[in-house]
Symmetry: C2
Subunit: 591 residues, 2 copies
């Protein structure tokens, strides 16, 4: 069974030493109580829970999977999931970042991210059950009526109920404008919801007494397309305005999907047969409400990618240190043993360092991103909030797509370092690869993230987020321009940032002539941008080392990984740049 040890040292390095997250949060209104002592207490406790409770259930959950009972339309989660969930609720983890007014602990998102990474490393499938409660809480806070908040928020925050996002229908995936589920207004102000939703994560399960579905549907007078979508709250068991739970609502699971991985997570077909629901937000403005949930969900999926990378890397590194095969080409390194550990082979280290670069770099990137969410939410200065919001909007599709694609790549490398043993269920590496494969699909495929980044965040919003990031990089490069030790990193970083600005301008000119140029460049633009952002993150990591709590060997590993990143990963930008420059012409029409 693969091991998991929470990477607390690196979390502290990234959060405290590199990003100054503790100081930053303490300086925001309401942050007085926040400091290293509190954060250390949270992550130490989270490490215990995840290492001891969730991690050991991961492989069993995959092997056992969820069972669907057709007669009762109920889902049995794998053995141990229910007890683990009870411990999770008991420990107060469900409401970690939720408002204190509703029973939460009101901690910043960035601290929640540290805990969430551990959950996703320990047991990605289990982590999908509480995952979407966050989105439901966000949507209710932003758009719910007072009574809806009173009734639904507390049990969600406490974890007694969980939430879902019911968006997809068989004919409506990336294109929600095509959805058909209907909502008929009733005289009492409620609605009857009718339709079928698919791919509903945690749509049905046995962990909690109730499940709160947030459902996109059309009112009778809805305009066609995405401007005619409204959002409704539909509980599994009906709830009155005083919060009392009543009869079963007319919503039930019709089946669960048989999937490549994430088998411990119930992916449900949900049938709404005139279920009682309540409108959230304004009629026909459901997509706005949904995007409130979606931003958080997309960052969350990026963190799933990170969690998988970290755990796969830990096991891959162990294996490469222990597995003896062949001698180093330059001569035996361990002549007293039958062969050298495979970590002596440069090609094996290439695979390990790629994983480390994405694990540690990805961690700092999502923490930096989450800190923007905290600034956006808490800062007293409007312009500071605005800037953070623009940076956040820009970085979210990068976090989501880059780290999930990196998870596919890194779980590939981890498996590959095990050779044939990686393909066998026993060692758990193939599960990570299967689990990772969903992350580039749900909450918007990589292609959808790329369109969001280039089409919306850069082109439609005039690239405010990009400008801030480029300013930050320019400031960083200027600050370390004369630092000899940083020259090998700052030089290439500055060159890349300049080209990034230029290619963005060029794509803007092309898109003005033919909007399809955006589609032709978007995915390459996302990766190109992501690799430059990660280069900045890695350069920043190195500058944070002298004043850090890391020991010398960990510092050397950081410097080495940064060097590797610049030598071996950052050159991927060459290929993406060439692809962008070839434009739509390089992708002929097909029919």
């Amino acid at each position: 069974m693969p091991r998991y040890t929470a990477p607390l040292d690196d979390m502290r390095f990234a959060f405290y030493d590199m990003l100054g997250g503790d100081t930053l949060l303490a300086g925001l209104p309401g942050g007085e109580a926040i400091g290293r002592e509190l954060i250390d207490a949270v992550i130490n406790e989270a490490a215990r829970f995840n290492e001891q409770v969730l991690a050991p259930l991961n492989q069993r959950g995959d092997q056992e999977g969820c069972r669907f009972d057709k007669d009762t339309a109920s889902v049995h989660t794998p053995d141990g999931f229910r007890q683990a969930y009870a411990q999770y609720v008991e420990g107060g983890w469900a409401g970690l970042t939720a408002p204190e007014a509703y029973g939460g602990q009101g901690l910043p998102h960035a601290i929640g991210v540290l805990v969430k990474e551990m959950i996703d490393s320990a047991n990605l499938a289990w982590g999908t059950y509480p995952l979407l409660s966050q989105g439901a809480v966000d949507a209710l806070l932003a758009h719910g009526e007072d009574w809806q908040r009173d009734v639904f928020l507390k049990p969600l925050v406490e974890g007694r109920w969980t939430g879902t996002m019911c968006l997809t229908e068989p004919q409506a995936g990336s294109d929600l404008g095509l959805l058909k589920t209907r909502a008929e207004p009733q005289e009492d102000g409620s609605y009857r919801i009718a339709g079928t939703k698919i791919f509903i994560t945690a749509g049905e399960h046995d962990l909690t007494d109730n499940i709160v579905h947030l459902v996109l549907a059309r009112l009778p007078d809805a305009p066609a397309g995405s401007r005619g979508i409204s959002m409704f709250i539909v509980p599994k068991f009906r709830v009155d305005r005083a919060g009392a739970m009543g009869q079963r609502n007319a919503v039930s699971a019709g089946a669960i999907e048989h999937k490549m991985g994430l088998k411990g997570s119930a992916t449900c077909v949900m049938n709404f047969d005139g279920a009682e629901g309540f409108l959230i937000g304004k009629p026909h403005k459901g997509l706005t409400a949904m995007f409130t949930m979606m931003n958080a969900a997309r960052l969350a999926v990026g963190i799933q990618g990170l969690g998988l990378i970290e755990r796969a890397f830990q096991n891959s590194l162990d294996y490469c240190r222990e597995r003896l095969q062949m001698r180093a080409l330059s001569g035996a390194v361990a002549p007293d043993r039958p062969a050298d550990p495979i970590i002596v082979h440069p090609d094996v280290r290439r695979m390990l360092l790629t994983q480390r670069a994405f694990a540690e770099g990805g961690r700092a990137l999502v923490l930096h991103t989450a800190l923007q969410a905290d600034i956006e939410e808490r800062a007293s200065d409007e312009s500071q909030r605005q800037r953070a919001s623009e940076v956040l909007g820009f970085l979210i599709p990068i976090c989501k797509a880059l780290l999930t694609e990196a998870a596919v790549e890194c779980t590939y490398h981890a498996l590959q370092t095990y050779g044939g043993h990686g393909y066998i269920a026993e060692h758990g590496m193939e599960q990570f690869a299967r689990d990772a494969r969903i992350t580039t699909l749900y909450e918007g495929t990589t292609g959808i993230q790329a369109l969001d980044l280039l089409g919306r965040k850069v082109m439609q919003l005039n690239g405010a987020g990009l400008r801030h990031v480029l300013d930050d990089i320019a400031g960083f490069c200027q600050r370390y321009a004369t630092d000899e030790a940083m020259g090998a990193l700052v030089g290439p970083l500055a060159v890349h940032a300049k080209t990034w600005g230029e290619i963005t301008q060029e794509l803007g000119r092309r898109a003005a002539k033919n909007p399809d140029e955006i589609g032709a460049a978007a995915t390459d633009y996302l990766f190109y941008s992501g690799y430059i952002v990660l280069a900045w993150i890695w350069a920043r990591s190195v500058t944070a080392l002298p004043d850090s709590s890391l020991g010398e060997s960990a510092r050397q590993a950081k410097r080495d990984t940064a060097h590797f990143y610049f030598q071996r990963i950052l050159p991927r930008t060459h290929t993406h740049l060439a692809a962008m420059r070839s434009g739509l012409d390089g992708i002929p029409a097909m029919s």
Copy 2:
């Protein structure tokens, strides 16, 4: 269930129009009977068998998997596999390329490759049962004593028995020098084999009456390491020198592995408990005999990659033509329908064209490679045989690693075009991705292929194979230097070929100083080489169009795919070149 239609038109284009394979084979000694009529008859019949018999069993085989009966140490293959195998034998497919003297049809390897691609598309797992018989036949032909050939070859060629390669042990994977299985000589000239082998494909099954294991083991006086390995033939049921089958031999399956994919293929732990075996070839020269089998097996695994790419592509293309989501950014293409087919989106076409580029380019590459094997085997001119042998040795690690890594990538793209539906077992795309994942591991990982290419074929053998390929490319470029229509392809190809020669020289100089430089560059060198070879293949495809049997729309698709390849895939060389140039310095030591 995913469909499969044998790509006969493209096979004919590649084999006849582009490579002139029919003329070439007919011109070799013994090739008088070979022509398009014969080849068409073979591939038409193969298409029927694969489309109608093997393809429909593929998904069921994955779901059912193999069952191991501990009490009898027997393996039950999935429902239908046994009947399909009987039809395969009945149809004479087992001996297609085997010598007529032993009951085969004596057809060239290149024709066998056309059939093998279909089997691997239709049902990769099923295809692993007859797969290694070929290796056993090759080893017996090259190294077996007369009586061994008389006794074992005929049933193998007829398909009444199957073969295995028993190499790997728990502590000996890439490094066979570590293997421990022992062989004790007996007075009657036989040997007692004792030890445990793992990951034995088709080590036990219920398709045939007997199984012939080729086993690597150590004689009592064997030197340590890889110079002390001998090869033995160990049948499941003992066979006397007259060919009569007797008692069960002391070899049996101890378990089958639970794997990520390829579930219809029995991957066995094989226990040899003093089993009767016979030495093949000379004592301590087992690795030489093994490499006889290994070359064919590596090309075969490259073809497995190709087969998966082709089938995934077919289904992905269908889906992208049918699935309606969103409008083209430049305006509705199908305004009368609820949305446009997703093939209108450039990013979707990018994923489709990548698959097509590897499917059709990969097909021409393996056929070109297999023709070298036929020339090596059949040509009357010694220098022609020598040249073909050198080209073959150079191209085999490229075919193996490039096409299996492309299979991982292309099954990724195919799945991705299905969105969430790709992750669901029902559509079959996730099975292709799981099945593909073994191909970069077995018969030598990608890293091992890369070391074989750069360390052995280029550095140790003075790059004879590379020189021939570079000569062929230079000749091609010269021939089309003034052809205006080919300028966009020939120009970049010539530049790449020049740089390829230069970086090879540079790596040679580095390796002379530190052999670890080979390990640091090998994988990038393999991909770099592979992409240039495929560019040459794609440019050749375009030159073959005017005189081809393809219709105009197929010709346009070829030209478009070649253009896409040069614009969007070939630029990957930039990244690999930068990585090679950074050298060992870019991959710091780890411990």
